[in-house]
């Protein structure tokens, strides 16, 4: 089979490259001027934003991935994913930089080797190797679980 | 596949309508058969008005909705199945069958 059955959107957090299933991505946004902080929530929960009249919570992927540097730069963006195709489960992921859309094959994924990082995310869909760069494909279900915990 | 579904729907529905019409054609429909008949007509017309439009039987569905509504009322005890009503129902069903046949032939073209 030569058909490309997997479309990914890759992004950078620090020096690492991650990706999510592009089909679940709704929007890519610049960081808005205000993110309304919701009191009494975990640090990674940055707050809520107004996305075309709807409320979308935003999490800081840098914190979820255990990265210490959390300063917003010119490339910092929010990837809004919509895992269950319902308003309720929309979620913004704040990342350092959105990279590109990758068309690939499920079979290209290899098992992700985690090196005992301090991040909160423990499972990945797999890792893709393109031009000697490793792209770790994020398991959105796992992210949701972590946030809801 | 769709053509097949249409064909099946068309055939079974027309057959059921004809069955009902035979019952309605009896000189007098016994009173104890009324509930059963009512239910039968209601269910069938309900089905037609529900499924008909998506299979292209628009006119038939429109017509059957009238029957459905009336028989809904009868079923709910809000209207009596009078001999006149039975007669008009028979008429309506005849027209319904005819509409089905016409709409089916148009679809075939």
């Amino acid at each position: 089979m030569t058909s490309q059955d997997l479309t990914l959107l890759s992004f950078k957090i620090g020096e690492d490259i991650f990706a999510v299933d592009a089909l679940q991505v709704n929007h890519i946004l610049e960081v808005p001027s205000t993110i309304t902080a919701v009191p009494n929530t975990p640090v990674f929960m940055l707050g809520i934003i107004n996305l075309h009249g709807n409320i979308v919570p935003v999490v800081d992927m840098r914190i979820l991935m255990g990265n210490e540097k959390t300063i917003n730069g010119a490339d910092t963006s929010i990837i809004v994913i919509n895992p269950n195709a319902e308003q309720e489960s929309r979620l913004g992921l704040l990342v350092d930089m959105v990279k590109e859309v990758i068309e690939t094959n499920q079979s290209e994924l290899t098992e992700t080797v985690t090196d005992g990082k301090k991040g909160l995310i423990d499972t990945f869909e797999g890792t893709l190797c393109i031009n000697e760069e490793f792209i770790h494909v994020i398991d959105i279900k796992n992210i949701m679980e972590v946030i809801e915990k | 596949m769709l053509a097949e579904i249409k064909k099946q729907f068309y055939e079974t529905t027309v057959k059921e309508l004809e069955d009902i019409n035979i019952k309605l054609s009896h000189e007098e429909v016994p009173v104890e058969d009324h509930p059963v008949l009512t239910e039968q007509i209601f269910t069938l017309t309900h089905q037609i008005s529900g499924t008909g439009p998506m299979l292209g039987f628009d006119g038939a569905s429109k017509l059957s909705r009238k029957l459905e509504r009336t028989f809904y009322d009868i079923r709910a005890g809000q209207r009596n199945l009078t001999p006149q009503l039975i007669w008009q129902t028979k008429r309506a069903i005849e027209v319904l069958i005819q509409t089905f046949v016409e709409e089916n032939s148009i679809q075939r073209q």
């Binding site: 009494n40 009249g53 489960s89 | 596949m1 269910t43 009238k66 008009q88």
Partner: protein
């Protein structure tokens, strides 16, 4: 394409199954009801047919056997029995399963279905049921053939042009009237246009018919039943006797035709017969045939959600526009904005009204639960429903079902006693569970009460102490003790029972209800019974709120829960021990939102305190300042922030910023818990 039909089929079938279940319930109470049997048979029949058509082969096969059973029943070859009804109930569950999953793929399930079918077939082999010979006493037609008086009626049949489009042949209708008795038809053709203008599939004619008949007005109207949408119809009695054919009448008809003026009942008032009015006919008495348009259409709930969302967006944008208009002194924009505001308000009310559905739609599941569980536990329970036609926001209903099921389970499992136990207590052996829904102000109250054991507060207290939820010496009144049931980790039973222990306790019930901004309370009396009451907002989406500021954020407090607003010196609250301030010589407990939200201490000279009440609790809520009153659309925070209990949603303000909506009852509860444990 085919998937669309499949989905449609499933949707329709779900309705069918619902109907089936309802019929079965009724049949259980009236086992010889032929109509119900027919209804069930028909439902099975259409499931079978549709199933085959849309590739649900297992469904089709399965329902085929049930159809056979009910075919036998309706042919008096098999009697309805409790066993048969129970079997059919389980069959309905299976049908539901098949509809949801499509064809079975797993061997085990296929084997299960086979076994089930064998059970069904077993019924067909045990057919000798002499009991069934029901003595069909046919009602004899009242033989007394009294000389029936006939009357003369004037029928005015004024069809619309589209009369002919559905295959109606109006000539037959006149013919049918003639079958009722002596009749004469008057056809008015003056509206038929000349050749260059005619659209010959339209109807241009109007009829009046005089008929002398013994039949009633209704019987006459029945003739026109299937054209009633396409016509205006009047039937008036004009004489107690047969006047058709009288010369005076013929003159009347002649004149009417000559002048193309419809006859009116007044024309027939005796003595006036010769005087034919040449003036315009009296304005015809309108209606008679009431509008009977299609009363409902099917729309997917998804579309309704979308509509509500769009309308909410419109309201938000309209607020932005209002803000703009306020800041720009342009009278034209001002006026336009006002109109848009009015329109969007109407639209909003409409849209929310559409999303209301009757509670009824879920009641079947409750009835089913009560029936099944009481059978299983050998309890005798009368389940009474009041107010099932009450309408609620569909999102509320969706979220309400699980908690209600749980409460019902509790009532059956822990509440209602076994019949012998009840007799021993001097109660009727049959227990009652009352399900009651009604409006109360802007809220809807749903109550589930039972006349069972009730709750032993002392037992609950001890249990709470042993679980470390309260201190051994805590002084609690009865109400507060019952509140403990809602504390997470509390369960009145040690063993997790099959019925109500499915991981959902009252704490989850409360949380789920709170998700839809509802409140739950319990009242109970040992030996007498328990009442659980749920208070719900009418719709989820719009509230009148007071906008307040706390640190950098803005919050909305629902106006409905606000009593008064005071200004205070922050020093007053700093000094206060026990979070109580003295106002008008009264001790008022308060909650400082800065503290609750972990914000830094107040730096200002003045703060404001909003008096908030919820149920029977009342407390001051300290905010930085009050901004004003707003009507806002409440948006859900989504699944990730459900843990944030005090905030129940968010609102987008006219300028696009977000303010968070405070759940006052939660807020007050958070204070109370401190008191209980402290």
């Amino acid at each position: 394409m085919i998937d669309k039909f499949k989905a449609k089929f499933v949707e329709e079938s779900m309705d069918n199954v619902h109907d089936l279940e309802e019929a079965l319930f009724l049949l259980e109470k009236d086992m010889n009801n032929k109509e119900l049997i027919e209804r069930i048979f028909r439902a099975m029949h259409s499931l079978k047919g549709g199933g085959a058509m849309f590739g649900f082969n297992h469904l089709s096969e399965f329902t085929h056997h049930l159809e056979t059973i009910f075919d036998w029943v309706r042919g008096n070859k098999l009697a309805v029995s409790t066993d048969l009804i129970s079997l059919t109930f389980s069959a309905i569950d299976h049908i539901n399963h098949l509809l949801k999953t499509g064809d079975l793929t797993n061997d085990e399930e296929i084997a299960d279905q086979k076994a089930f079918i064998q059970r069904v077939q077993a019924f067909l082999t045990l057919t000798d049921s002499p009991a069934q010979k029901a003595g069909m006493t046919s009602v004899e037609a009242s033989g007394a053939e009294a000389a029936i008086a006939t009357k003369t009626y004037l029928i005015s049949f004024i069809p619309q042009p589209e009369l002919l489009q559905n295959g109606t042949n109006p000539l037959y209708l006149m013919d049918d009237i003639h079958a009722l008795g002596q009749a004469v038809s008057i056809a008015y053709t003056h509206k038929v246009p000349s050749l260059d203008l005619i659209d010959n599939t339209s109807n241009y004619c109007i009829w009046q018919i005089l008929v002398n008949t013994a039949e009633s007005v209704n019987e006459i109207k029945d003739v026109f039943i299937f054209v009633e949408d396409e016509c205006e119809l009047h039937v008036d009695q004009i004489a107690e006797t047969n006047i058709i054919g009288k010369p005076e009448i013929n003159v009347l008809i002649e004149k009417a035709l000559q002048h193309n003026l419809l006859l009116t009942p007044d024309d027939f008032k005796s003595g006036d017969w010769n005087k034919v009015q040449t003036k315009e006919p009296e304005e015809k008495k309108k209606v008679v045939v009431k509008e009977h348009k299609i009363s409902s259409i099917r729309v997917t709930s998804h579309k309704i959600d979308e509509l509500v969302t769009l309308v909410s967006e419109l309201v938000t944008i309209q607020a932005q526009l209002s803000l703009y208009a306020e800041n720009h002194d342009d009278p034209v924009i001002g006026a336009l904005t006002e109109n848009i505001q009015k329109l969007s308000r109407q639209l909003r009310e409409n849209a929310f009204d559409i999303s209301l559905i009757p509670l009824q739609s879920e009641l079947m599941r409750f009835q089913r639960l009560v029936r099944d569980l009481s059978k299983e536990q050998n309890k005798d329970i009368d389940f009474v429903i009041e107010g099932g036609d009450l309408e609620l926001d569909k999102n509320i209903i969706e979220n309400l079902t699980d908690p209600l099921l749980h409460i019902l389970r509790n009532s059956i499992d822990h509440g209602i006693e076994l019949p012998e136990e009840r007799i021993a207590k001097g109660k009727s052996p049959k227990g009652t569970i009352l399900f009651k829904a009604f409006h109360s102000g802007a809220n809807v109250i749903v109550e589930i009460s039972d006349d069972g054991k009730g709750m032993d507060t002392e037992y609950i207290r001890q249990k709470a102490i042993s679980k470390g939820i309260i201190e051994a010496d805590a002084v609690l009144n009865e109400k507060e003790i019952l509140e403990l049931l809602f504390v997470s980790g509390f369960s009145t039973r040690d063993t997790v029972s099959d019925v109500s222990g499915r991981g959902v306790g009252m704490d989850v019930v409360r949380r789920k209800i709170a998700n839809i901004r509802g409140e739950v309370t319990i009242e109970s009396q040992v030996g007498k019974g328990t009442l659980i009451s749920i208070r719900l907002p009418l719709t989820l989406s719009i509230i009148d709120g007071l906008l307040v500021k706390v640190a950098d954020n803005q919050y909305v407090i629902p106006i409905s829960s606000i009593d008064k607003i005071y200004a205070l010196d922050p020093a007053q609250i700093k000094q206060s021990f026990n979070n109580v301030v003295i106002i008008d010589k009264e001790q008022v407990p308060f909650i400082d939102l800065r503290k609750v939200f972990n914000e830094p201490q107040h730096q200002t000279d003045i703060v404001q305190m909003v008096m908030v009440k919820s149920e029977d609790k009342k407390s001051g809520v300290i905010v930085d300042n009050v901004v004003g009153e707003y009507q806002t659309v409440v948006k859900p925070l989504g699944r990730y922030l459900k843990k944030q209990e005090i905030i129940s949603g968010a609102s987008i303000m006219g300028d696009g910023t977000i303010s968070m909506v405070i759940d006052t009852s939660r807020l007050l509860q958070s204070r109370k818990n401190i008191k209980v444990t402290g």
